[in-house]
């Protein structure tokens, strides 16, 4: 079954996993209709827990469930799980390495209508800063299916960030997801573009439009953490310059992690992301992406400029 929406891919994959794995318990905080936890709820009502609008309690309850051998998947919007329930995640789940999966839907700007309060531009930074935490950001629906299977199998705390909207797949359907392993989506020799989530597709578009003029190497970093610095260095090695792209603040996200890894490199590097500002409401997702410069054109333009500095 092929999907073009991450949350629908996620919800259906949970249903598939729940068929054989009776330990999987899905929790929602009044947003099961958005997170697609409702699909699991419909399939296995006894293993879905509606926790009400109480995210902090939901995360601590998940910790307790994990300690009785369950595999809880706690869903909400990225901004609420990573923000409101930060302390619950840090204190009990992360310090104790508990087997809790935290899934932040409607991440980045993808909840375009709801504005700054509901758009998470800092969830990667928050979650990556917590020791013991694994942070996953799949490129598209295909990869979400495989990442969901991988995190269910992995024993330990995981945060997975998902987009709300429909968009075309760029990753291969059914390709096994290996936690911690970036994927080279397109080889290239001038500029290495490290992208994550929705921006992987944008980087590929930029690469395609530049093909005659400039060779872009596109790397899908779907595991933000753990991400080995040597892996980043070796992926960038054959290129003259580096660009990173993410639908997240330029502070503490993929760009910061790549920049830290390449600190000793002499290659010019530019971080594309949201420039230390909150989101805002718009009528269309694309309107917001254009406004904040999360576009293929922007990646193209930055790549063309940065190669001049190399």
């Amino acid at each position: 079954m092929s999907y073009t929406n991450q949350r629908i891919a996620y919800g259906n994959t949970l249903v598939e996993l729940g068929k054989n794995n009776k330990d999987i318990i899905v929790l929602d905080a009044d947003l099961a209709g958005s997170t697609m936890g409702k699909l699991f709820e419909a399939a296995y009502p006894d293993r879905h827990i509606e926790m009400g609008i109480a995210e902090a309690n939901m995360l601590s309850v998940s910790a307790g469930l994990a300690q009785t051998g369950k595999i809880p998947f706690a869903n909400s919007f990225a901004v609420f799980v990573a923000g409101r329930a930060f302390d619950q995640i840090r204190q009990t789940i992360a310090i104790g390495k508990l087997n809790v999966k935290i899934v932040g839907g409607s991440s980045g700007l993808s909840d375009f209508g709801d504005g700054a309060t509901h758009q998470s531009v800092e969830d990667i930074a928050i979650m990556s800063s917590i020791p013991n935490m694994t942070v996953i950001c799949p490129a598209d629906a295909n990869e979400t299916v495989e990442a969901t299977k991988a995190i269910a199998e992995y024993k330990g705390p995981v945060y997975m960030r998902l987009n709300r909207n429909e968009y075309a797949n760029v990753s291969e359907e059914g390709k096994k997801f290996v936690i911690g392993q970036p994927t080279v989506m397109k080889e290239g020799s001038d500029v290495a573009v490290f992208a994550t989530g929705y921006t992987v597709g944008l980087a590929l578009k930029a690469a395609e439009s530049l093909e005659e003029k400039l060779s872009l190497k596109v790397i899908n970093v779907s595991t933000i953490k753990p991400l080995n610095a040597d892996t980043i260095i070796s992926l960038a090695e054959n290129c003259k310059a580096v660009v990173t792209a993410e639908e997240h603040s330029i502070y503490g996200g993929l760009g910061s992690i790549v920049a830290a890894a390449l600190a000793k490199s002499k290659k010019p590097l530019e971080i594309i992301g949201i420039n230390d500002t909150f989101g805002r409401s718009a009528h269309k997702y694309q309107e917001l992406l254009d406004f904040y410069g999360i576009t293929a054109d922007h990646i193209k333009e930055v790549s063309e400029n940065i190669i001049k500095m190399a």
Binding site: A56, N57, A63, Q67, T68
Partner: protein, 278 residues
């Protein structure tokens, strides 16, 4: 309800265990090292009743599937729980001396990865009851007949999450969880009552749908009877409001705010151990 009969001998023996835990706490702190003495002493009888009588648990098999679980939501009195675990054989009593040493497995707050017998990390106040709710749910799903006991401080009740958990406890009819409030009336910097209104605490819990039992938290017979009563109450969770004295058993520390987290001089140390002598 008809309560179990406990002989004077059984009661006496648990009272002695509580004093033993207090002595362990004082020795664990030693002279000149900071430790949460006041709140350890207020909860000593409660902990003694749970670990030495009520709870089904085994130091030989700490992960026994049908064990009862204990969560120290007021995680700052970890030394009291360590004393109970040590006296129950989870680790050597002598190791209490190493608490908070840089390489010690006995951390300042309970650590599930480091210390045998700890069920989950607690200490950021207000979260233990929610963790307990999750455990109680998981046990029910697996039809395991075990209880979850959660010890909270009264100052901790200012944390909003406690009341999220209280709502959930009733919503899911978790009659396998027992919250115990160590109502010693003091918090780190003063009286709880000066910070928020803790009158009508019974009514507050009652209105959230909990079975409320109020006791003297230093009276072993009352503690045992309340714990037994919680066993027979079905369809809702139970909270035991235990009226206690902070610093109980050490005259110079009783009801004195500064002994929340304190250091002992040599004179205090000796005098405390003398008062707590078997």
């Amino acid at each position: 309800m008809k309560s179990n009969y406990y002989s004077d001998e059984e009661i006496k023996s648990l009272e002695k265990k509580a004093q033993l835990l207090r002595r362990d706490v004082v020795k664990c702190m030693g002279i000149g090292n900071a430790g949460h003495l006041g709140g350890s002493c207020s909860a000593a009888e409660i902990i003694a009743c749970l670990y030495f009588h009520k709870m089904k648990h085994s130091s030989k098999n700490p992960h026994m599937v049908d064990r009862d679980r204990f969560l120290l939501s007021k995680g700052h009195v970890a030394i009291l729980q360590y004393a109970a675990l040590a006296e129950c054989g989870y680790f050597p009593v002598e190791d209490l001396q190493s608490a908070k040493d840089i390489h010690s497995y006995l951390q300042g707050h309970p650590d599930v990865l480091k210390t045998p017998g700890i069920e989950a990390g607690t200490g950021s106040l207000g979260q233990g009851l929610s963790i307990g709710i999750g455990m109680a749910m998981g046990l029910k799903m697996d039809k395991i007949d075990s209880k979850v006991y959660v010890l909270l401080g009264d100052g901790e009740l200012a944390e909003g999450q406690v009341w999220e958990a209280a709502l959930a406890g009733k919503e899911f009819n978790l009659d396998n969880i027992v919250a115990i409030v160590d109502k010693n009336g003091l918090q780190a910097t003063g009286k709880v009552a000066d910070r928020f209104n803790i009158d009508h605490l019974n009514e507050k819990w009652n209105s959230f749908g909990w079975n409320v039992i109020e006791i003297n938290g230093h009276d072993v017979r009352q503690i045992l009877s309340a714990l037994d009563e919680a066993d027979v109450k079905k369809g809702c969770p139970t909270v035991i409001i235990a009226n206690t004295v902070k610093g109980k058993g050490i005259s110079f520390a009783e009801n004195v705010v500064s002994f929340h987290n304190c250091t002992l001089t040599e004179e205090m140390y000796n005098s405390a151990l003398k008062e707590l002598a078997d």
